[in-house]
C-alpha cells in the first residue's frame, strides 16, 4: 500500500508535467493515460476518509439510456464501451490483474405495463434526437426476456436490452489502475487535498497541507470537489451530488449472465442491487426504506433471491454534474488547466485513459470530440 504523507522523490524541487487533482477512478484513469504518453505525473489525492464514489459505485459499463438531452453523449459513451476491452487488456499486460470486464449486453427490466411504456417512450425520444448514434436498444416482451434471463419472475412484463452494455469488477479496476500508476513511476500523494491553485511564471502552484506542488499543467478530476477547484483556474464545474444505496448478497452460483441496470451478479458471485437516488449528500448512514424497496423490487424481478442472505449495504455519493453529462474543458485564462468531470467514471474510464489523457498531454482538447461537453452549455441554458 502507499504510505500516507509525502512519497519519496516528491521534494519541493521536483517538477511535474501534469498534476492530476483527484485520485478516484477518473483521476487515476487520466493519470495512467498521461503516463503512457510519457508525461511526468503527480496525483494529488485526499486520504482514506475521502468521500469516494470509486469505492461505492455499481460497476456497470453502461450504454443504454445515455444521451437523452445531449445526443453526443451517446456517441461518447459508445466510444468508451468499444474501447473498454482493449483498455482492460492493456491493464492486464501491465499489472497481471484481470478486472473481469464483460460485455454480454444488459437489461432494464420493467415490473408493470406503465413502466414498460415509459421505458419505450424514453428510448424513442433518445433515438429521435438529431445526430444520435443508434445503439440498437430493443424493447423485449416477457417471453423474449425470459429466453435470455430464465429466472425472471412473472411480474416482469418486459424490458429493454442493449447489446453494448457490460460490467466490470470496479474495486479491482481501482486497485489495478493504482498498481499500473505505481509501475509507471507516477507519484501518488495521498492526504494532499488541494486548497488553492495559482498560476505563476508559466507553471501551476498547488497548495496542499503538505506543501506546494508545481506542475506545467493541471487536470481537475476531483469529482464533486471540482465545483470548488475549477474557479481557481478560470473554469467552472456546476455539480449536484446525490446519494445512492447498494445492497450486496452472499456469494451465489452463477445464475445471471447479463447485468440488469439495478441488479448484477459479480464475477465473484455476490449479487449487487442498487440504483436508488436521494438528494441527501450525507455519505454515512442508510435510509432503510430505500434498501428495502431495492430488495423488494429485486425479488419481484428474480424470485429466487427471496431467501438469499444480504451481507452488506452501503450508501455512496454520486459525482453528478448539474445536467448529468460530463464536463471536459480547457481554461482560456489559465492555459494548461483542464477539467475532467463526469458521473460515469467506470463506463468512461477507457475514454479518460485513451482519449482525454492524450489530449491533455498535447495541451489542447480535440473540439471535434469533446466540444459538446464544455461547461459553456450551462450559460446557453441560462440565457435561453
Amino acid at each position: 500500500m502507499v504510505a500516507e504523507g509525502r512519497a519519496a522523490g516528491a521534494g519541493t524541487g521536483d517538477e511535474f508535467d501534469v498534476a492530476v487533482v483527484g485520485g478516484g477512478l477518473v483521476g487515476v484513469a487520466t493519470a495512467w493515460g498521461l503516463a503512457r504518453e510519457g508525461c511526468r505525473v503527480v496525483v494529488l489525492d485526499e486520504g482514506d476518509r475521502a468521500v469516494r464514489a470509486s469505492r461505492g459505485n455499481f460497476a456497470l459499463v453502461w450504454v443504454q439510456s445515455k444521451g437523452l438531452g445531449l445526443a453526443p453523449y451517446a456517441g461518447w459513451t459508445i466510444r468508451s464501451s468499444n474501447a473498454w476491452q482493449g483498455f482492460s487488456d492493456l491493464l492486464k499486460q501491465e499489472t497481471g490483474l484481470d478486472v473481469s470486464f464483460q460485455r454480454p449486453g444488459g437489461f432494464h427490466l420493467c415490473l408493470s405495463e406503465k413502466e414498460l411504456e415509459a421505458r419505450a417512450t424514453v428510448l424513442k425520444r433518445l433515438h429521435n434526437q438529431p445526430g444520435i448514434v443508434d445503439y440498437k436498444t430493443e424493447i423485449l416482451t416477457h417471453d423474449q426476456v425470459k429466453a435470455m434471463l430464465p429466472d425472471i419472475g412473472p411480474e416482469v412484463v418486459g424490458g429493454s436490452f442493449c447489446p453494448l452494455d457490460g460490467h466490470v469488477n470496479s474495486l479491482r479496476l481501482f486497485r489495478t489502475l493504482h498498481t499500473a500508476l505505481n509501475a509507471r513511476g507516477v507519484t501518488y500523494l495521498p492526504s494532499h487535498r488541494v486548497d488553492n491553485i495559482t498560476k505563476d511564471g508559466g507553471e501551476f502552484r498547488l497548495t496542499t497541507p503538505h506543501g506546494e506542488i508545481r506542475a506545467a499543467k493541471v487536470a481537475l478530476a476531483a469529482g464533486n470537489a471540482n465545483m470548488r477547484l475549477a474557479p481557481m483556474v478560470g473554469l467552472e464545474a456546476p455539480m449536484r451530488p446525490e446519494r445512492g444505496q447498494i445492497v450486496v448478497t452472499e456469494r451465489l452460483r452463477p445464475f445471471l449472465n447479463h447485468p440488469v441496470v439495478t441488479l448484477r451478479q459479480t464475477d465473484e458471485g455476490t449479487v449487487m442491487i442498487g440504483d436508488s437516488k436521494e438528494e441527501s449528500v450525507d455519505p454515512s448512514g442508510l435510509t432503510i426504506g430505500v434498501s428495502a424497496t431495492e430488495a423488494e423490487r429485486a425479488v419481484r424481478q428474480f424470485p429466487l433471491l427471496a431467501n438469499v442472505n444480504v451481507v452488506r449495504t452501503w450508501s455512496a455519493i454520486r459525482v453528478m454534474t448539474q445536467d448529468g453529462f460530463p464536463i471536459y474543458d480547457e481554461s482560456k485564462t489559465h492555459p494548461g488547466a483542464f477539467t475532467v468531470c463526469c458521473h460515469s467514471g467506470v463506463t468512461l474510464a477507457a475514454n479518460h485513459a485513451l482519449t482525454i489523457a492524450p489530449m491533455i498531454a498535447r495541451g489542447a482538447l480535440d473540439a471535434s470530440l469533446v466540444a459538446p461537453f464544455s461547461a459553456r452549455r450551462f450559460h446557453v441554458q441560462a440565457a435561453g
Binding site: 452472499e250 456469494r251 458471485g269 429466487l304 431467501n307 438469499v308
Partner: protein, 97 residues
Amino acid sequence: MFKRLAESSPAVGIIVDGKPVSARTGDTVAAALLAAGIGHCRTTPVTGAPRAPFCLMGVCFDCLVTIDGVGSRQGCLIPVREGMKVETQLGRREAGR
C-alpha cells in the same frame, strides 16, 4: 474428537447428506455434526477449502449448511428436529435453494 458429557436427553434422528445421524434433543445442528464426528460441513465459495463449526455462537458463519433445502443456514443457531435434512454446502450457495 468431541465427547458428550451426558447422553441423558432423548435421541433425535436427522439425515446428513442422505445418511441417518443420531442427535440429542437440544442439540444445535452444528453440535450434532461435531458429536457425530463429521469433519466439515461446507467448503468455501472461492478456494473450496473445508470448514467446520467454529464459534458456535452465530458469529463466524463457518457452520453454514443447507437445511431442509434452504442454503446458508447457520447450523449453530438451529436446533435439530426429527427427520431434519442437513446437507454439506459445497462452495457458493445456489440461488433459490
